[in-house]
Symmetry: C2
Subunit: 230 residues, 2 copies
């Protein structure tokens, strides 16, 4: 067997596992066995099995050997899209408008969510995202001015607040939570929907090196779905 790249071997072993050659929880052959079988070195098999472990297909333990995961973990990986991209990928023209932009002291709940010292100034924004001039999503956002002081001068006509922050503070971490929300009066008006309609909602707090950057809540128009593969 000459196409013995670690990729090829990884695929081969994955196929054998998926096809049911070994049951869930079964011990699969050791690295030396695979190496002999595929005519390559143990190192190459190692890389393949490591990758399979990262994929969540197998579990490995020293001396214990490698076994098929008893209960394979369905791991979803998806890119949280920027609103502009969502709209444009649906074939609509994107636009956004800042409806409100103030400097305020944040409410108490936000102080704990964003770990803000007392007295920290924040920018508060409300924006609407439009697809072909129809409301697509409504956004409420707080920006920690202690972390991003230059935000007060940000020009949000070209870029949305989100895009501006991603460019300015790249590689931040974030906590995301998804939920369903009933539209209150303001949301109903903004999104031009009925009061009480069920909206898909994304909350996101972003961190840069232990300091909070921004917290936003995005209310998608009625019927919006976030789709991805696992």
């Amino acid at each position: 067997m000459n196409n013995a790249t670690h990729q090829g071997i990884r695929d081969a072993i994955r196929t054998r596992i998926v096809s049911g050659e070994w049951k869930l929880g079964d011990l699969i052959p050791g690295e030396v066995d695979f190496a002999a079988h595929y005519g390559c070195s143990r190192t190459t098999v190692n890389r393949a099995l490591q990758a399979l472990a990262e994929e969540g297909i197998v579990e490995r333990k020293r001396k214990g050997g490698t076994r098929v995961r008893p209960m394979p973990a369905p791991q979803a990986q998806f890119r949280i899209p920027i609103v502009r991209e969502q709209v444009e990928s649906l074939g609509h023209a994107y636009a956004t408008k800042v409806l409100k932009r103030e400097i305020e002291l944040p409410p108490l709940s936000l102080r704990s969510d964003m770990q803000l010292p007392a007295g920290t100034q924040c920018a508060y924004l409300e924006s609407i995202h439009l697809a072909d001039d129809q409301p697509f999503a409504f956004e409420r956002r707080w920006v920690n001015l202690a972390t991003v002081p230059s935000f007060v001068d940000a020009n949000l006509h070209e870029l949305s607040a989100n895009e501006w922050l991603v460019k300015t503070v790249p590689f931040s971490r974030g906590d995301v939570s998804l939920s369903g929300t009933s539209a209150d009066n303001q949301l109903a008006e903004m999104l031009q929907i009925q009061n009480g309609a069920a909206l898909f909602t994304m909350d996101r707090t972003t961190w840069f090196e232990d300091r909070s950057v921004t917290r936003m809540t995005l209310f998608y128009r009625q019927g919006y779905r976030l789709s991805f593969e696992i």
Copy 2:
């Protein structure tokens, strides 16, 4: 520098990138430079940079070198939890009850979603998931009996339908979509909430080698949030 493992170097380089030492899109030093700097072999640096590329932090091209991703893609990876685990991780006792179990011809919309040939028999289930005897989620599920004929004999007292299917048809792919739904009469009654309440909803179609396995819709109780990090 002696802790020059590929892990350590990966972390070190990631830190330098995150700290802004190079801007978005910038070319970062080559493998040999890093190897000299960290006092290790190029192989070790190569593994570190490859890992960083998989993380989505850098882009690599032969001869072109390695550069910081121009617009870092915030990729969320999370494990879609089994309802039992969600409930138990909240410290509640889990239970599930099948309320309805029938063999039926699926509706037309499902035939296209699950790519079912005309006349394919399906099992239809309605189940309630309980946390400490309180409703936690309501599930509607169709199972393609052409793919999983043994499901008709499945004992769903020990395992939920989902767990039974995961054990029986492991390593399946899935399309997931998340949305917000207004509770209809049945949902309101099942989850003991008000008619019209906003519910976080997960639709999932599962495939095994081009054949659909199951399609389910899970309506979570009011206030449920799916949280994860990016």
